[in-house]
Structures are given as structure tokens and as C-alpha cells.
């Protein structure tokens, strides 16, 4: 109890002490609390800042990679574009070269061919020279012709005069006026008079129309304008003495044209030639030169080449040609072949299912029937022969 009392007495002191001890701490509590808060906040801040720094760094890395990627893509695009442009420029340049050549060629060949023009002008000047020469020649020829015509006219005139003055010719006794004895040579008129035929006075000739010269007549090109020249009169020939026929008759007969008969008129191989002709015409008209062959297998002259498989020296395999099933006789139940059931319906159904089996079966049946028939016939024959040994059977 004492303690209790003590304690109780101390209790208020305790209380106060407790309180004061606690409150003493209180003074520092806030400080310490604040300090602790500050330390913690600072630490938290550092941590968060470190975290942020980390985040920033990471984000930077991502962005860096991404931007690099984008940039490289862009760069690829630019390179591609540049490459395309370079190629296009090259193609354009080449195309320009081709076009340049082509345009030059086209103009030179089709629109304006300089060398052709030069040739043409040369040809023109050559033609000109030729024409000039020809015209000169023509003019000279004309002049010559005119001179000749003039000379001829002069000659004719003088000749006519000489003929008119023929009586002035000198005779042996009396020299004519043109043959004066005091001259060395006679005058040329004298010679002319000697050559000329005396002019017999005739009725005056019909005066020719002035316009028609000889030269005109020659040059008139119209057929109707040519002078109708008379046929010369025949030279009189004395008739030969003797029994001579008229010359025209003789010539007629001598040069009579051949009049062959119809048979002679045609050649001997006329028919053959006609056939040839016909054949030629048909050949000309043919579209297809190959003959149409009469039988379809006419041209099938191809030799049949058998399979090596079947023509081997080891003999053909019966499998594939004679039987198609693989048979194993060891597995057979019985050695007889499969037979149809006698029941008709079954046969029918079976036949519908396996038609080829039905056929085989039917064929066999027929064979049997025939065999039986033959046997019967032979039997009858034997009987007949037995009965009528001498008779000849007429089949």
C-alpha cells in the first residue's frame, strides 16, 4: 500500500513529469518531424527526378530511333526520285537524239531533198542546152533548105531562059553572041545554051497557085492534103511471039495461095493439143494443186511402226491384250468357270449389271446349239446314207 500511496502521490508528479517529458519531446518533435519530412521529401524528389531522367532518356532513345527511321525512309524516297529523274533524263536525251536523226532524215528524204533539187536543176540546165543545140540545128537546117530552094529556083529560071534563048547557040559557021572569037573561053551562057533543050512553044501552062510551093506540099501533114500522084503509065512492051498466056494469069496461078482441105488445115495432133490446152486452162484455174484422191486411205501409205513393247523378241505379253485382269489360279475355288444362274431374272439383272458377261454367255450358248445341230445333221445324214446308199444328195 505504501507504494500505492507513493505512487498515487507521485502520480500527479508522474503525470506532470510524463507530461513534461513528453512535451519536452514535443518541442523537438515538430523539428524532427519537419526535418524528417524534409529529408523524405528530398529523397523522394531525388528518386522521382532520377526516374524522370530515366524516362526522358528512354523517350529520347525511342524518338531518336523513330526519327532515324523516318529520315531514312525519306532519304530512300529522295534517292528513288533522283534515280527516276536521272533515268528519265537519260531516256529523254536518247529520245531527243533519235527524234533529231529521224526528223533530219524525214525532211531530207520526203520534204526537201537538197541533192534531188541539185540534180533536177542540173538536169534542167542539160535539157536547156540540148534544146538550144537542137533549135540551133533546126534553124541552120531551115536556112540551108531555104538557100537550097533559092538556088534551085535560080537554076530553074536560068534554065528556062536558056531554053528560050536556045536560038542564040553558036553553030559551026557562025559563033553565037556568047561565044565571041576574041575570048579565050566561051561564056558560061554558051555552055548552058548547049545543054538546054529547045523550048517548043506550047499552050500556056495553067498557072500554079502561088501559095503551093514544093516545100509546102511536102510538109502538109494531113492525108487529104497530099497530092494525088498519078500512077505512072505502064511501059509499052511488045508482046512476045508464041502461045504465051497472059502474064497476069500466069502470075495468078504461080502465086495462088494455098487452100488446104479441112483435114490438112488442122495439125495431126490437134486433139492432143486441144486436150493439153484444156488441161492448161484447168491448171490455171485450179486453186488447189493437190489432186483429190479417190480413196481416203489412198494416201495412207505410212508404214505402221508397232510398239517396241509388242514387237520385242521376248514375245508379247498376253496381259493387256488378251486379258486385263490379274489372275491368280491358286486362289480359285473350283476350276470351272463362272456360270450364270439358271434363273432368268437373276440372269437379266446380272446381264444388266454386266452386259459383256451376258454376251459371252449367250455366245457360248449359241455355239453349243450349233454343235448340237451339226451333230443332229450328221446323224440324219448317216441314217439317210444307210437307208439310201446309192442316192446322191443334191445340196
Amino acid at each position: 500500500m505504501a507504494t500505492l500511496a507513493r505512487l498515487q502521490a507521485r502520480s500527479t508528479f508522474l503525470a506532470h513529469q510524463y507530461y513534461f517529458r513528453n512535451s519536452a519531446v514535443d518541442v523537438f518533435r515538430k523539428k524532427e518531424y519537419d526535418a524528417a519530412v524534409k529529408i523524405q521529401s528530398w529523397f523522394r524528389g531525388c528518386r522521382i527526378r532520377a526516374y524522370l531522367r530515366y524516362l526522358h532518356r528512354v523517350a529520347t532513345v525511342i524518338q531518336k530511333c523513330w526519327r532515324g527511321y523516318l529520315g531514312r525512309q525519306h532519304y530512300q524516297l529522295i534517292v528513288k526520285l533522283e534515280f527516276c529523274t536521272m533515268k528519265m533524263n537519260l531516256y529523254n536525251a536518247m529520245a531527243v537524239r533519235i527524234q533529231k536523226r529521224w526528223r533530219g532524215y524525214r525532211i531530207r528524204k520526203y520534204c526537201f531533198n537538197y541533192f534531188y533539187l541539185k540534180e533536177y536543176l542540173k538536169a534542167v540546165s542539160e535539157t536547156n542546152d540540148a534544146i538550144r543545140e537542137a533549135l540551133e540545128e533546126f534553124a541552120e537546117m531551115k536556112e540551108r533548105e531555104e538557100k537550097k530552094a533559092d538556088l534551085e529556083r535560080e537554076e530553074k529560071k536560068r534554065d528556062y531562059q536558056a531554053r528560050k534563048m536556045h536560038y542564040l547557040l553558036s553553030t559551026k559557021q557562025i559563033p553565037g553572041i556568047y561565044n565571041s572569037p576574041f575570048r579565050k573561053d566561051p561564056d558560061p551562057w554558051e555552055l548552058r545554051l548547049q545543054k538546054a533543050k529547045p523550048l517548043i512553044s506550047q499552050r500556056p501552062k495553067v498557072k500554079q497557085k502561088r501559095g503551093v510551093n514544093i516545100s509546102n506540099r511536102l510538109a502538109c501533114t494531113s492525108a487529104r492534103s497530099l497530092p494525088q500522084s498519078e500512077i505512072l503509065p505502064p511501059i509499052d512492051r511488045k508482046q512476045c511471039q508464041g502461045p504465051f498466056r497472059d502474064i497476069t494469069e500466069v502470075l495468078e496461078q504461080r502465086y495462088k495461095p494455098l487452100e488446104p482441105t479441112l483435114w490438112m488445115a488442122e495439125p495431126i495432133n490437134e486433139l492432143k493439143m486441144a486436150r493439153e490446152e484444156l488441161r492448161k486452162q484447168e491448171w490455171m484455174r485450179n486453186i488447189n494443186d493437190n489432186m483429190f484422191l479417190p480413196f481416203s486411205s489412198y494416201h495412207k501409205n505410212k508404214k505402221y511402226i508397232p510398239l517396241m513393247h509388242s514387237s520385242s523378241k521376248y514375245g508379247p505379253n498376253s496381259y493387256g491384250s488378251q486379258h486385263f485382269r490379274d489372275e491368280n489360279p491358286k486362289k480359285w475355288i473350283c476350276d470351272k468357270k463362272f456360270k450364270f444362274h439358271e434363273d432368268r431374272n437373276v440372269c437379266l439383272t446380272y446381264s444388266l449389271l454386266y452386259p459383256h458377261c451376258l454376251e459371252q454367255h449367250l455366245a457360248k450358248e449359241r455355239k453349243k446349239e450349233r454343235k448340237k445341230e451339226r451333230k443332229r445333221k450328221e446323224k440324219r445324214k448317216k441314217e439317210r446314207r444307210k437307208r439310201f446308199p446309192n442316192c446322191i444328195t443334191i445340196i
Binding site: V124, T127, N128, R132, F138, G211, A219, S222
Partner: protein
């Protein structure tokens, strides 16, 4: 006493009439008598003699009338007024060939003076009878009838159409084929007169097949016939391209070129007219002519004759050169330019000079080559002088101006251009300076020559309005030269230099 005396009276009268008519016919051949005859009233006296009983008197009276009417138009009118024509026409159908010839002669004599008289002849129905005369056997009658028809058809298109409607053209073509040269001549001249008026008439003549016969007759040696034939063909060819082509198809080339060498001047003239009419239509026809050497032949022909005979040849060269530059080059190659410049300088007549100037302009206007070919022959100064001279006619001046302009615009031959700097009027000077400004920037030798020949000096002296084309040209010329030279040659430079000398202060040592 009785019968014979009576008959004698009649005989005397007949003799008197015959003598009178023969004397009148003879007097009418001389022009100085005709006035007196007219005053004596010969028309009224001759008129009843046309109806005389005696055929010879009729014929001689008609002959006398024809000669009188031939002389001048008044007498012809008197013939028409005196109602003589119907009588003539009526008797044309019936009488003998001498009368027909004389009557046709009268109709021709009346019809040749004027269109009205020819119309009067047509109105009295003479055409049908004349066409009937064309079918006559006697070539003299045919000739007279064809001549009359030709003279009637000559005046205008309506009369030609009337002649064609009367059916004269086929008969004229038949006449051309006759052997007599005189008849051929007259028929060809009649066809030429008919076809000259219009394309339809020419087509009518062509449809009858005249071209072939006319083309054949080009070879005939008679010059008068050739004249008419060539004239007929040129009248046909002048109207349209088709007709010209038809004439060419008759294969007249190169035969026609021989006619250019004929002695007769009119044959040459008509031949060059024909070629001209063909060449002027299309370039293809001109090409044909060039290919057959026609240009050379025509050039020679121009060289060998003078005066009006040359004119169609000159025009032909101009037409050929006008079509295209290749043809102009062909003309140059045929040495036509020297010939044309000779024509230009020596011909006295203005219209021929004008034609030569025009032809030269057509040749030189295409490219610098052509202009050079023209300029080399020194024709440009001649053209300039013709343009500037006051005596030249308007036509000549215009043509030479056009020729100069067109040649100058293409001329790059500087030696020929230089004289122009000195004496050309301003409108031409502009072109000259322009040409210099085009050539000088590219040719250094030319620049040197330009300076040494004094051209640069002259150019500096030219006064041109600022901003005008001439000033631009001068500037471009000046820009071809270093500045010192330009300043050296500019006018008044020596004065400027002297001024500088005056104002120069020598450096004090």
C-alpha cells in the same frame, strides 16, 4: 432593022453597065478615089446593079461594093442603111461561086468595122447562109465565108455566140483540114477569134476536136498559117486550167519550141504567147514547160527580137518564176536573168520595162539565193533609177518599187546593197539598212568591208527618228563595231576632236 437594032440598044446598055461597074471596082482599089466616089453617090448606083440580069455585072457590082465598104465605116453603114444586105443574103443562097465570093467579101467588109454593123449583119440572117457557104465545094467560097464569120465573131462574145449557134465551128474545123493553105489560115484565124472571148466558146471549139488539127498544123512551114494556129491555141489555152491541159495533151511540146526559132517575128510572138498562157495557170504546167527546156528556148527568143515581140516571153518568165522557188531557181539556171536585165536597160517602151521589172521581182523574191542571182547582174541600180525617174509611167514606177522591195527583203549580197545606201529614198533605205543589220552581226569579213568601203560612215549620217525601225537597225549595226570606230565615223567627230585639242591643257612639267 427592027429586031437587031432593038437588041443592039440592049447590048450597048449592057456593055455600058459592065464597063461602069468594072471601072468603079477598079477605082475602088485605090483609097484616094473612094472619097470622090462616095460624093458622087456610087452606093445608090451600085445597088440596082446588084439585081442585074447579067451575072458578071452582079458579081462585079458586089465586088465594088465590098471594096468600098472595106475602106471605112461610114460607107459600110451606108451599105447597111441602103438595105443591100438582105438582097445579098438572099442571093448568096442561090448564085454561082463568083457571086458567093463577092457577096461574102461584102459581108466581111461591112462586119469588120464595128460591133453594131456586125450585129446588123447577124440580124438580117446572114449567118445561116454563110454557114451554108462553108459547105460549098469551092475553096475560094469557103475562104470568103470563113473570113466573114471570123470578122463578125471578132468583136464581142454575143456575136461569137451567134456564130457558134449557127453551127459554124464544125465546118471551120473541116476547113482547117483542107489542103489549101489560104483556107487553113482563114479558118484558123476564125477559130481564134471565136474562142478568144470566153471559156464556154473555147470549150465549144475544143469539143469539136479542133485542138488535134491545130496542133498538127504547127509543123507546117507556112509562117502566116503558123501565126494563126498559134494564136488560136493560145486563145483556147488562156481561159482555164482544163483547156490549157487539153492543149498540152495534144503534144505540142517540144514542137512549139521550134516555132520560137522561126524567122517571122509574129510567129515567135504568138508562140511565146501560147507558152505564156499555158505557164500562167498552175505550177505543174510550168514545171512541164521547164522540163522540156521551154525556158531556155524562150530566153533565146527574147534575145533575138526587139520591142513588143519580146513582151509575152518576158511575161512568161515572170509567171514561171512566180509559182514556186524551185521553178524560179530553174529560171535562173537557164540564164534568164542577164537577158531580162538587158531587156530592162535597153528597151525604150515603158510597158516592156515594167514587165521586165515585174519578172525580175518574181524571180528574186523567194530566197537569198534567188535575190543574190538577181543582184549579181547589177539590175538593182537600174530598177532604182527607173523607180526614181520622173519620166517613168505610174505602172513602171509601182512595178519597179515592188520588185526592189521584194528583192531587197531577201538580199544578203552586200556589194549590191552598198550603192543603195547612197542614193535610195528613205522608204527603201529602211529595207537596205535592215538587211545590213541582219547580215553584219554574223560575218566579220563583211564588217571589215563595210567599214573600208565607207558604208559605216554613210550609216552614221542617216538621220532617223528615235524609236523608228530605221533607228533600231542603225543601233544594231553600231553594236557590231567597237565604240571608237562608231564615234570616229559619226558626223562631226573631227570638230569634236578639234574642240578637245583646243581645250586641252598640256601638263605642266
Amino acid at each position: 432593022m427592027s429586031q437587031r437594032q432593038v437588041l443592039q440598044v440592049f447590048e450597048q446598055y449592057q456593055k455600058a453597065r459592065t464597063q461602069f461597074v468594072q471601072m468603079v471596082a477598079e477605082l475602088a482599089t485605090r483609097p484616094q478615089n473612094i472619097e470622090t466616089l462616095q460624093n458622087a453617090g456610087v452606093m445608090s448606083l451600085l445597088r440596082p446593079l446588084l439585081l442585074d440580069v447579067v451575072p458578071t455585072i452582079q458579081q462585079t457590082a458586089a465586088l465594088a461594093l465590098g471594096r468600098l465598104a472595106n475602106y471605112n465605116g461610114d460607107l459600110a453603114e451606108a451599105v447597111v442603111k441602103g438595105d443591100i444586105l438582105p438582097q445579098l443574103v438572099y442571093s448568096l443562097a442561090e448564085q454561082n461561086r463568083f457571086y458567093k465570093k463577092a457577096a461574102a467579101f461584102v459581108l466581111r467588109a461591112v462586119g469588120k468595122h464595128s460591133p453594131q454593123l456586125a450585129q446588123a449583119i447577124v440580124d438580117c440572117g446572114a449567118l445561116d447562109t454563110l454557114v451554108i457557104c462553108l459547105e460549098d465545094f469551092d475553096p475560094g467560097v469557103k475562104e470568103a465565108a470563113a473570113w466573114a464569120l471570123g470578122y463578125i465573131a471578132r468583136h464581142n462574145a454575143e456575136l461569137s455566140q451567134a456564130v457558134v449557134d449557127a453551127g459554124a465551128v464544125p465546118l471551120l474545123v473541116l476547113c482547117i483540114q483542107e489542103p489549101e493553105i489560104a483556107l487553113k489560115r482563114i479558118a484558123a484565124s476564125a477559130l481564134s477569134d471565136i474562142s478568144k472571148h470566153s471559156p464556154e466558146l473555147a470549150q465549144t471549139v475544143v469539143d469539136v476536136g479542133a485542138i488535134a488539127h491545130l496542133a498538127q498544123m504547127i509543123l507546117n512551114p507556112d509562117s502566116k498559117l503558123k501565126r494563126q494556129v498559134l494564136s488560136a491555141l493560145s486563145q483556147i489555152a488562156k481561159h482555164s486550167v482544163d483547156l490549157a491541159e487539153m492543149v498540152v495533151e495534144a503534144e505540142i511540146f517540144p514542137v512549139v519550141l521550134t516555132c520560137l526559132k522561126d524567122k517571122d517575128d509574129y510567129v515567135k510572138k504568138n508562140a511565146s504567147t501560147l507558152i505564156r498562157e499555158i505557164a500562167k495557170h498552175t505550177p505543174e504546167l510550168s514545171q512541164l514547160i521547164v522540163n522540156t527546156g521551154g525556158v531556155a528556148a524562150v530566153t533565146d527568143c527574147i534575145g533575138s527580137c526587139k520591142g513588143n515581140i519580146r513582151l509575152p516571153g518576158i511575161m512568161m518568165l515572170g509567171y514561171v518564176a512566180a509559182h514556186s522557188e524551185n521553178l524560179a531557181m530553174a529560171v535562173i539556171v537557164s540564164k534568164a536573168v542577164p537577158q531580162l536585165s538587158v531587156c530592162l536597160s535597153e528597151e525604150p517602151e515603158d510597158h516592156i520595162k515594167a514587165a521586165a521589172a515585174w519578172a525580175l521581182g518574181q524571180i528574186g523574191r523567194h530566197t537569198p539565193e534567188h535575190a543574190r542571182a538577181v543582184a549579181v547582174t547589177n539590175t538593182l541600180p537600174v530598177l532604182l533609177s527607173l523607180y526614181m525617174s520622173t519620166e517613168s509611167s505610174e505602172d513602171l514606177q509601182t512595178k519597179s518599187k515592188k520588185a526592189i522591195k521584194s528583192i531587197l527583203q531577201k538580199c544578203t549580197y552586200l556589194p549590191a546593197l552598198e550603192p543603195f545606201l547612197y542614193d535610195a529614198p528613205p522608204n527603201i533605205l529602211k529595207h537596205v539598212v535592215g538587211q545590213f543589220s541582219k547580215v553584219l552581226p554574223h560575218d566579220s569579213k563583211a564588217r571589215r568591208l563595210f567599214v573600208t568601203s565607207g558604208g559605216l560612215k554613210k550609216v552614221q549620217e542617216i538621220k532617223a527618228g528615235p524609236g523608228s525601225l530605221l533607228q533600231e537597225y542603225i543601233n544594231s549595226i553600231n553594236s557590231c563595231y567597237p565604240e571608237e570606230i562608231v564615234r570616229y565615223y559619226s558626223p562631226g567627230y573631227s570638230d569634236a576632236l578639234l574642240q578637245r585639242v583646243d581645250s586641252y591643257q598640256p601638263l605642266a612639267n
